[in-house]
């Protein structure tokens, strides 16, 4: 991963100012959606933060889910009653920004102001606190997402990020090693494919011909009914439109889907659906493909990094439903059409070869965090300090390992902070990454004891590695509110997913054209 | 308190837009402290009249006074009346006791006294053992008694009774009606008593009012109305068995029925309708009277013998009916088939013009 610091916009002056922290009682309200069961870690950080600034009280409220959160903030904006800070998706912030309710964070990020902690009851009494944020320590795509708004300001900073990775059924691959090698794909003796370079669609088609049996999953031939499941059809659409340079939306809110490339892309997908190369969870009336991946119905499955563990078969499943038994799982990057950006690739659509220019792309997703305008200066300042605390190197790493999210800071990957994962197991984030690396290096033949705690973190570690490897070509989703003639980015994403689902459910219908689904999508997004 | 009605009119409009003049321009004064029996055929407007007095129905026209005060616009709860409904209208969810207590509670009568009065009145109507039953656990007559108790217990200024005894057996009816009469006499509550039982009306009432089709036909003391009906309707309506009505004529001061002389008069010659009550006949043991018939049936109930004579239509000038009846003393020992000569007792001959008005 190449991390470039954004030298153009950073303007660190050498003269730093030392200022007094406001010492009045300050209440910072913080809205999030973390359920009571999941917010323990957050609560702990709050307690730590309050110990650092004893005059501050953080009131954190869970709004149950993102929709409720957004609705409550929006209605709150209408009456001037918003929290000091909140997490939210980019499109939430895009909406808040149109009403002028969120505070630009540039004033803190680029500030050189330093504060001395003078409260003797503070746990950091006497230390110097900085407001500025080391942007170069963040993954670029995250930053791009957070300053995509009007004027190029940061209205939020990345908080809790994830991406998609692909689970593969390594046992199936291992059963066909000779054929796969014969087809020119590198594969280890134990069925591991490359963890550094993603598979291409050409390779997928090759694999499909080897390991897919449309007649049904078969334990003797070790073939699956489908090749690749894609959990989020919205992500499939958006990501693919980037990979194909097909046009989707932009941050100005333009809907760019009514074009020939998109039509080609949908037709291509339709044919892939038909040939069992790609499948959506609706095939099994599910929201996620993981269960069917475990059952062996499909050999590969793209899903969120946060859902890793749902892809691992184990003995709690009824043996009869595991068509391929308990198999080995590996994680790879999401498949791509090209290996270098802006290069050409050829696909067969409707029986003819079509050549197009494409790029690599992987989605990055998850909430950011920002501060609202209406709060007092002191509230905002402390809110900012709190945000900084939440995404500090140690805390982002801690958060990542606890929740399945990824650290937002590069430094987290080398953080020396020991993190207590269980009562008897603690390690640094890089040691955590090392678990998978060791495993892969040994071609899966590690000599760990069965009771070794590393087994418990093997798969999380795999996806953390994979995610880090594909961070190079992360793309973010343009975020915008609806205009008077088109829908907003959230609707666009939903409709994109529905478009693919509609196409999928028409597989096998004679004379069906994916244009129908696209036209409906256009009707829903523009007027 | 005197009740005065002036031009009181109530018109019902039923679904099919037909108008029913249930009470038609009634002028009536009910003297203070009297018990008035309101009589008339089914559907003549008796209940409606009571409801108007009570204020439960709103008149289309006319005025009502209680004493000096016009109450036309006064709501029923302010009129201070007691009312026994024809179909009882007991509160189904309350026990007998609660039903009777209810008006007292509304009058804010002191609790002790209210309970006392409830028990007394329940004894009066013979319900003391049923105080804790709900109306649906009572027989028809028992329900009616509860309704009476409820109306009486509050000692109203005006008491309105809509066929209050119709479901009671003779003995209880007698008892209750005498009790009502007694209470009325003692308290001097102006009372209107609707009944279809003329015997009841006549024996209990100070005066009776006979109604027909919403119009008052006659008002007066019972015996007087019985003895001197103002029109054929009243004559026919009162009396059981009914009055015998004949087609007759006056010729030379003689009253003739079917050519047979039945009496004398001072009226000029004309066609008349003649009414003679069954008991207006006497047996002419001397068999001189020309007014004679062969007896078809003899009924003896208790102390009377009713002679029933079946006639061909028009025969003997008899109107309406195919039979006429005479009641004579059981002593006469008459048998079917006997030929009996009748005399008409003095003052028992009623002469009406052809429109039905008394001459």
């Amino acid at each position: 991963v190449q991390v470039q610091s954004e030298t153009t916009t950073t303007s660190i002056t050498t003269t730093t100012q030392l200022a007094e922290l406001p010492n009045e009682e300050v209440e910072v309200t913080f809205w999030h959606i973390y359920g009571e069961g999941k917010s323990a870690l957050l609560d702990q950080m709050i307690v730590e933060f309050e110990a650092m600034y004893p005059n501050v009280t953080i009131t954190s409220t869970s709004q149950s889910d993102y929709d409720t959160l957004r609705t409550n903030i929006n209605t709150g904006i209408g009456v001037g009653q918003v929290p000091t800070m909140a997490i939210g998706y980019p499109d939430h912030f895009a909406g808040y920004i149109t009403t002028g309710a969120v505070e630009s964070l540039d004033q803190y990020i680029y500030s050189t102001t330093q504060y001395e902690v003078t409260d003797s009851t503070s746990s950091i009494f006497g230390e110097i606190v900085e407001t500025g944020l080391e942007l170069s320590d963040f993954i670029q795509s995250y930053l791009d997402e957070n300053d995509q708004y009007q004027g190029g300001y940061f209205y939020s900073v990345p908080y809790s990020k994830s991406t998609e990775t692909m689970a593969v059924n390594r046992s199936v691959l291992a059963a066909h090693i000779t054929e796969i090698r014969a087809a020119g794909i590198t594969i280890s003796d134990n069925g591991f494919l490359s963890h550094e370079t993603p598979l291409t669609y050409d390779q997928l088609v090759i694999l499909k011909n080897i390991i897919v049996d449309p007649a049904g999953t078969n334990a003797t031939t070790m073939k699956c009914e489908y090749l690749l499941n894609y959990d989020s059809s919205g992500n499939l659409y958006i990501n693919m439109s980037r990979q194909w340079h097909a046009g989707y939306t932009n941050s100005d809110g333009d809907i760019l889907i009514d074009n020939a490339t998109t039509r080609n892309m949908l037709q291509f997908l339709y044919e892939n659906f038909t040939s069992n190369t790609i499948v959506l969870p609706v095939a099994w009336s599910q929201s996620y493909g993981s269960t069917n991946f475990i059952y062996g119905d499909v050999c590969m499955s793209v899903g969120s990094t946060a859902g890793v563990n749902y892809n691992i078969p184990n003995s709690t499943y009824t043996p009869s439903s595991l068509k391929l038994g308990i198999f080995n799982v590996d994680f790879l990057q999401v498949p791509q059409y090209v290996t270098t950006d802006d290069s050409q690739f050829t696909v067969e659509i409707d029986g003819t070869d079509v050549t197009m220019t494409g790029s690599r792309s992987a989605v990055q997703q998850g909430p950011n965090i920002g501060i609202f305008h209406s709060a007092t200066a002191a509230q905002k300042l402390y809110a900012w300090l709190f945000i900084k605390y939440l995404i500090s190197t140690d805390n982002t790493a801690k958060w990542a390992m606890n929740t399945g999210y990824l650290p937002v800071r590069l430094s987290a990957y080398s953080s020396e902070e020991q993190l207590q994962l269980s009562s008897t197991f603690s390690l640094t984030y890089s040691e955590f990454l090392g678990i998978a690396q060791d495993f892969w290096a040994a071609d899966g033949e590690v000599t760990w004891e069965l009771t070794d705690q590393r087994w418990n973190y093997l798969y999380s570690s795999m996806v953390a590695n994979i995610a880090f490897n594909q961070a190079d070509y992360y793309q973010y989703d343009p975020a915008f509110a609806a205009g008077s003639h088109s829908a907003g980015s959230a609707t666009a994403r939903v409709e994109a997913g529905y478009c693919l689902q509609n196409i999928y459910t028409n597989v096998g219908v004679t004379n069906y054209s994916p244009d129908t689904a696209l036209n409906f999508m256009i009707n829903q997004l523009t007027w | 308190m005197e009740i005065k009605m002036q031009g009181l009119t109530k018109i019902f409009t039923s679904k099919n837009k037909k108008e029913v003049r249930a009470v038609d321009n009634v002028d009536l004064v009910i003297p203070s402290g009297k018990l008035i029996g309101l009589l008339g055929p089914s559907g003549c407007g008796k209940s409606t009249t009571l409801y108007l007095i009570a204020g439960l129905l709103r008149q289309n026209d006319g005025k009502i006074f209680f004493g000096e005060d016009e109450v036309t616009e006064t709501p029923p709860e302010k009129r201070g009346i007691g009312l026994v409904f024809q179909n009882y209208a007991l509160y189904p969810h309350m026990t007998v006791r609660e039903n009777i207590l209810f008006p007292l509670q509304n009058l804010k009568i002191e609790k002790q006294e209210a309970i006392q009065r409830t028990v007394e009145i329940a004894e009066l109507v013979g319900l003391q053992e049923m105080l804790d039953r709900k109306p649906k656990e009572l027989s028809g007559g028992q329900q009616q008694r509860v309704a009476i108790a409820r109306a009486l217990v509050k000692k109203p200024r005006v008491l309105l009774l809509d066929e209050p005894l119709s479901n009671l057996d003779a003995r209880l009816r007698l008892q209750t009606r005498e009790e009502i009469k007694r209470i009325q006499r003692e308290t001097k509550i102006t009372t209107v008593f609707v009944t279809h039982d003329q015997e009841e009306a006549m024996s209990i009432s100070d005066e009776i009012v006979v109604m027909k089709d919403g119009v008052i036909q006659q008002m007066g003391e019972p015996q007087q109305v019985y003895d001197a009906p103002l029109n054929l309707f009243v004559a026919r309506f009162l009396g059981n068995p009914q009055i015998n009505v004949f087609d007759g004529e006056i010729k030379n001061k003689e009253v003739l029925i079917g050519g047979m002389k039945v009496g004398n008069t001072i009226l000029p010659d004309q066609q008349v309708t003649v009414g003679i009550r069954p008991e207006g006949f006497a047996v002419d043991t001397e068999k001189k009277s020309p007014f004679k018939f062969e007896i078809d049936m003899v009924e003896t109930i208790g102390r009377d013998t009713t002679l029933i004579i079946e006639v061909e239509s028009g025969e003997g000038g008899i109107l309406d009916k195919k039979t006429f009846k005479a009641i004579v003393d059981v002593e006469h020992r008459i048998n079917p088939g006997d030929m009996v000569h009748f005399k008409v007792k003095p003052g028992k001959l009623h002469l009406f013009d052809l429109s039905g008005s008394i001459l």
């Binding site: 359920g35 009131t59 499943y317 | 969810h93």
Partner: protein, 310 residues
């Protein structure tokens, strides 16, 4: 003649027995279909994650296989942070809020419903039918439309303030807008209309005011309907979700549904922990069931008490 009579009699008896059996079977089928969701809820609450997603579904679990962890997890306490020591799912607090809200709205709704149903069924006033039609028409407007405006109103009344909202204000905001129901007014009016006029007359004669008549005669007679309304209405708070989330600034003030929806979704993957959710549902439903079964007789008597004709 008599022969035929006797034969008919036997055939009739046979028919009646057959008829009865059919009716019982029919009613039993309906009963089963009504019970299935309950069974499913309870069953699911005893399953672990993989059992829940299992295909074919597990239709029964022997008690020895019951996983109580879904329940016990609910009562695990928060180890640290501002809520340290409190349960993960603040069951009792949410229950208390819900019960309070339920009581208040039910009392309010019942009062307004009785008063207005009385006015609409017994009193003759100008514009009655028009007004009633207008009320009915409001039922036809999808309520989703009201939410924003009402929120603004609540705020104007000062009942919603993100920093200073008190419990009392939250209660007001959650109850006052729901103290009317045209639906129930309409229902009760129908019942009131069936009470014979004579009773109103009798009561007038007995010297009652309209109000007392309403209280002492109409209400007791219409009790079956009113009990029905009370039951239906009091359940409302148990499923209220959107509005309470909107008008409460503090999640301590919220209701069980808010807890049920939010608590068991893994926010990073969007997956719901159905086992825990069902366990919580069972817990939330349980008090209702207990209340319902303890007062079953009274409730059923209320519902089936024979009214009008005594």
């Amino acid at each position: 003649m008599s022969e035929i009579f006797v034969q008919n009699e036997k055939a009739y008896k046979r028919k009646r027995i057959a008829g009865n059996i059919t009716i019982y079977i029919f009613l039993a089928l309906v009963a089963i279909s009504i019970l299935i969701p309950f069974y499913w809820m309870i069953l699911t609450s005893f399953k672990n994650e993989t059992q829940i997603t299992q295909i074919p579904p597990i239709l029964a679990l022997s008690p020895s296989d019951w996983k109580l962890s879904n329940y016990t997890d609910l009562f695990l306490t928060v180890p640290s942070g501002p809520r340290a020591g409190e349960p993960l799912f603040p069951f009792f607090r949410y229950m208390a809020n819900t019960v309070l809200i339920s009581l208040l709205t039910t009392v309010g709704t019942t009062i307004t419903t009785i008063l207005s149903a009385f006015a609409f069924s017994r009193l003759n006033f100008k514009g009655r039918d028009t007004l009633f039609a207008v009320l009915l028409a409001t039922m036809m407007v999808p309520g989703e439309i009201f939410i924003l405006t009402n929120f603004l109103t609540i705020n104007k009344f000062g009942w919603y303030n993100i920093f200073t909202q008190t419990y009392g204000q939250a209660i007001l905001a959650m109850t006052i807008p729901f103290m009317v129901s045209v639906f129930y007014i309409f229902y009760l009016r129908q019942t009131f209309k069936q009470i014979p006029n004579e009773l109103y007359f009798a009561a007038k004669v007995d010297g009652t005011s309209d109000f007392k008549y309403l209280l002492k005669i109409m209400v007791p007679i219409a009790m079956p309907t009113i009990v029905t309304i009370i039951i239906l209405n009091s359940m409302g708070a148990w499923s209220a979700y959107i509005w309470p989330a909107l008008v409460t600034a503090n999640d301590k003030y919220r209701l069980v549904s808010n807890g049920l929806r939010g608590a068991f979704t893994d926010t990073s993957t969007g997956r719901t922990d159905y086992g825990q959710q069902m366990a919580a549902s069972v817990l939330v439903t349980l008090p209702l069931l207990i209340v319902f079964f303890t007062f079953r007789k009274q409730i059923m008597r209320g519902v089936s008490r024979s009214g009008i004709k005594g």
